[in-house]
């Protein structure tokens, strides 16, 4: 009987299509999770996908099955070395979930209420962006992985008709023809010399042979091909990595008492998107977190988003701090400096005008781009003092936008980062 062995390892798994179906089905539940995850995850983790927990009831497959604890039940249990007939064992009809899946069921255990699985980066990002209502084009852009570029570099002998380099091909053919003609001329000389010898010798047979040979050579002299496949030259392309550029992003956040949870959530989403966007263009993005009330401090991510401070607002402190850090750790010559500030715009006294002046004179000259996102106000409401002050800045490295709801985060980002950047 012939037996066959097949190697299926290289074939794609079937699970991808069904996985997409279940993700679609869990859409609502996943989105709810994603929101919570965003609040919980560190910024950098969003880059690598996420673990989600789904309640079983979200994906219930109801069946007509027996209620195990109803009626009378009998079980056969192995390994008994202590009980005797008439003994009572605790558990009864309440604890019937454990201790014995006999019978011919296919063992689908419904014991746990939840199950966890991991979303890949793409899936997580698309869920994240889903909520933000990104236009499809940009979503694709952000999810695609950067490719290396090609540049022209030299010629090679193989390729497709589209890559033929005509001038070099002709040069090669000229060379070949010269060589071939020279070779031919040599051969002709030899043949003529042979004929002359033959005529001298006087042998008619020899003469005839030599004459024939000479004729033949002369005839074939014109047969050197103008172009030969061996002449073909093709343009060759060399793979080149995009140059590694370092960037630093300064996240400045107002953590004064006027920033509530909702505003902080909006700010966090804004910063997350910003980070993802930047990490697409540059290999390395460093993030510096600065929070301020009336004084600024550099903090780590956790404190940045979760710590609370009460205090009044002094924006200038944050800007000064940023400048200080640039001077000490991130020389503008080696780094692309970005700044992003999120605040609710409430500041006291001259702070707004001072900040605006500081920004204009000290920070903008060294930054690639600085954005200000005002959270919590809708465009059209009466402007806050900070907004007013910043509005006066007229610099192509500066831009500002308002974000009042989750689905405005992306449009604000899109507005702030047009294609040119």
């Amino acid at each position: 009987m012939t037996s066959v062995i097949v190697d299926r390892r290289l074939q794609k798994g079937k699970s991808t299509a069904n996985r997409q179906r279940v993700l679609k089905r869990l859409d609502g539940a996943l989105k709810a999770q994603v929101d919570k995850l965003l609040a919980r995850n560190k910024l950098r983790d969003t880059d690598s996908g996420a673990e989600v927990t789904i309640q079983r009831k979200d994906t219930a497959e109801p069946r007509l099955i027996l209620e195990p604890s109803s009626g009378a039940s009998t079980r056969i249990i192995p390994g008994n070395d202590k009980y005797r007939i008439g003994d009572k064992i605790q558990g009864g009809s309440q604890g019937q979930g454990r201790g014995g899946g006999q019978g011919s069921g296919d063992g689908q255990s419904e014991e746990e209420d939840t199950f966890r699985f991991a979303l890949s980066r793409e899936e997580y990002l698309s869920l994240l962006f889903d909520d933000l209502e990104l236009p499809a084009l940009v979503k694709k852009d952000l999810l695609e992985i950067d490719e290396t570029r090609f540049r022209r570099g030299g010629v090679q002998r193989y390729g497709t008709p589209g890559t033929v380099c005509v001038t070099r091909t002709f040069k090669a053919s000229i060379g070949r023809r010269i060589a071939a003609e020279a070779q031919h001329a040599e051969a002709l000389d030899e043949a003529e010399a042979a004929l002359a010898e033959a005529e001298e010798a006087g042998d008619p047979a020899l003469i005839r042979d030599a004459a024939l040979a000479l004729d033949e050579l002369r005839r074939r002299g014109g047969d050197i091909p103008f172009l030969d496949p061996v002449d073909l030259r093709h343009r060759s392309l060399i793979e080149v990595q995009s140059p590694c550029t370092a960037a630093v992003m300064f996240c400045l956040m107002d953590v004064s008492s006027s920033m509530d949870e909702e505003r902080k959530d909006l700010a966090k989403r804004f910063f997350t998107l910003l980070y993802l966007f930047l990490s697409r263009k540059y290999k390395k993005v460093e993030i510096v977190f600065i929070r301020h009330t009336d004084e600024a401090q550099e903090v780590d991510e956790d404190t940045f988003f979760n710590g609370t401070r009460a205090g009044s607002t002094k924006v200038l402190s944050a800007l000064e701090k940023m400048n200080e850090i640039i001077a000490s750790r991130f020389p503008a010559s080696s780094y692309n400096i970005f700044g992003a500030q999120a605040s609710d715009g409430d500041s006291f006294g001259n702070d707004s005008t001072d900040s605006s002046a500081y920004l204009r004179s000290r920070l903008l000259p060294v930054s690639r781009y600085f954005v200000y996102a005002e959270v919590g106000t809708t465009a059209g409401q009466s402007a806050t003092s900070l907004w007013d002050a910043y509005r006066g800045i007229d610099n192509e490295h500066f831009n500002m936008a308002t974000v009042s709801a989750r689905n405005e985060v992306y449009p604000a980002l899109a507005k702030l980062f047009q294609r040119e950047h």
């Binding site: 009987m1 012939t2 037996s3 066959v4 062995i5 097949v6 190697d7 299926r8 390892r9 074939q11 798994g13 079937k14 699970s15 299509a17 069904n18 996985r19 997409q20 179906r21 279940v22 089905r25 994906t59 497959e61 109801p62 069946r63 007509l64 099955i65 027996l66 209620e67 109803s70 009626g71 009378a72 039940s73 009998t74 079980r75 056969i76 249990i77 192995p78 390994g79 008994n80 009980y83 005797r84 007939i85 008439g86 003994d87 009572k88 064992i89 605790q90 558990g91 009864g92 009809s93 201790g99 014995g100 899946g101 006999q102 019978g103 011919s104 069921g105 296919d106 199950f115 699985f117």
Partner: protein, 488 residues
């Protein structure tokens, strides 16, 4: 039996696997193991998980529930909760056995006799499989099913198809013919018949419109003999009689129930089948070792794994591998060296030829009857079985039997009863269909031993049924005397 090489180490090539399979085949011949041709497929662990959730069928239609189970199993596997089975084998012809790429040589040497000769011969010989499945037709049918469903998705939309399949899946266990013989699967015939049915359905609708203008003739009473002959196959009933289903939805019902039918024998022979395959892998591995075809290292690794597989933890559920392996070994022992006790309880096989008995048993029994007939007192003692009982509302189990010779028959019949189909699958049938009035459907669940259905799930499943039926459906559990115990 001389062979050119002795297998050792842990690396293997595809050719090695083929060779092992051939070697097993030669050994198996001595035991008259009749098998379908073998097709071994080497797969990745992800594909193995895929196989789990689609019942091992290499082709299946797409549905989110498969995706969900994949995620669950994957999560369990990655957290170390479940280790993957070493193999999946399905009863088709050729018999397809899936071997994991991560297995060592010893594992593959174990899996091949287990799957390609154990399970293979069982599904070829056992009467339930012969009666209820067509191994050579199932794969074609799956391809047909998958294509048809994909086609429906394109035409009628993913959502509608998903909703229909969800509802049908909820009733999958009630879509089985348990007592009637099903018609044979034949995908070509199926396609032809399907076209005819869809055409007929359209014709009927055209005619119905036409005839609605004419005076009413006596309608054929489709459900008349129900009271005498309740329909146990809900999906079949829905397929034929649901007033509001589109023809393509009826086709889906047909597909779901045909696939459920295919797996029907497997549930009833799990202990026998696994025991059989375990017995034969144990036997063939030892034979290969004695013939010098595998070395001691491989043998040890196999035995180590084998021991794990038949491990029976105490005070827990019975491991079908352990129970099955022990049962088959007992049969052999009683055939070859019966004690007086054996002669008393198993007179039919005591002293007979073990191989003949094996084949006869494998072909003609299923778990319930197998245990009832062949369980030995020694096995009950070895496993230290005890019987416990409880009733609704009690907070404890009472021990009613322990492993002693005088309780043997009681333990045996109770154990066998656990593997009866009704122990796990509720008996639900359509008893009344008010075809002339409000089209209400009445279902009865026969509640044995006071069992009722799990309420929450039953309500959900009933919703699905109502959606499919289009009119009112009522479901009640009735007791032995015929009175209603519970309504859902």
């Amino acid at each position: 039996m001389r062979d050119l090489r002795k297998f050792s180490g842990s690396e293997w090539t595809l050719d090695d696997l083929l060779e092992i399979e051939q070697i097993c085949g030669r050994h198996a011949e001595r035991y008259a193991l009749d098998t379908f041709p073998n097709q071994m497929e080497v797969i990745t662990s992800e594909q193995m998980l895929d196989g789990y959730v689609s019942g091992g069928l290499p082709v299946n239609y797409g549905h989110w529930s498969f995706g969900k189970h994949f995620l669950i199993e994957n999560a369990r596997y990655r957290s170390g909760e479940n280790s993957l089975a070493y193999e999946i084998v399905i009863n088709t012809s050729p018999c397809i056995a899936f071997l994991m790429e991560g297995n060592s040589l010893a594992m593959q040497a174990l899996v091949i006799p287990h799957a390609c000769y154990g399970h293979n011969s069982f599904s070829k010989g056992n009467y339930l499989f012969r009666q209820w499945t067509q191994p050579d037709a199932i794969l074609d049918y799956m391809i047909f099913a998958r294509n048809y469903i994909a086609d429906c998705e394109e035409r009628y939309g993913l959502d509608k198809v998903e909703q229909t399949l969800d509802a049908l899946h909820a009733l999958r266990d009630q879509g089985l013919d348990k007592y009637k013989r099903p018609s044979k699967l034949d995908s070509r015939k199926e396609r032809a018949e399907q076209a005819k049915r869809l055409f007929a359905a359209q014709e009927t609708m055209r005619q119905a419109e036409y005839y609605s203008l004419m005076p009413q003739a006596a309608k054929p009473d489709a459900a008349m003999p129900l009271a005498l002959n309740p329909e146990e196959n809900l999906l079949y009933f829905i397929e034929k009689h649901a007033p509001k289903l589109e023809p393509w939805q009826r086709e889906l019902a047909r597909i779901v129930r045909k696939i459920a039918q295919y797996f029907y024998p497997q549930r009833q022979t799990q202990v026998m089948n696994e025991g059989w395959a375990t017995f034969w892998h144990h036997r063939l591995i030892n034979d290969m070792y004695e013939a010098g075809q595998i070395d001691a290292g491989i043998l040890l690794e196999c035995m180590h794994s084998h021991t794990n597989v038949i491990r029976q933890p105490e005070y827990s559920g019975l491991n079908p591998y352990a129970l099955g392996f022990a049962a088959w070994n007992e049969i052999k022992r009683v055939c070859e060296n019966p004690t007086d006790e054996d002669r008393e309880y198993l007179p039919n096989i005591a002293g007979k030829d073990w191989l003949e008995t094996f084949h006869d048993t494998m072909q003609n029994y299923r778990d319930e009857s197998f245990l009832l007939q062949f369980l030995t007192p020694k096995l009950v003692r070895d496993f230290k079985l005890m019987a416990i009982q409880t009733s609704e509302g009690l907070d404890h189990w009472a021990v009613t039997e322990t492993a002693g010779t005088d309780s043997f028959k009681s333990v045996r019949s109770q154990l066998s009863a656990c593997y009866r189909l009704e122990a796990s699958m509720p008996e639900i049938s359509v008893v009344r269909y008010e075809i002339d009035t409000d089209r209400k459907l009445v279902l009865h669940h026969q509640g044995y031993n006071g069992k009722v259905l799990l309420e929450d799930q039953a309500k959900q499943a009933l919703k699905h049924l109502r959606w499919l039926w289009g009119f009112d459906v009522s479901l009640e559990t009735i007791d032995q005397k015929g009175s209603t115990v519970k309504t859902y």
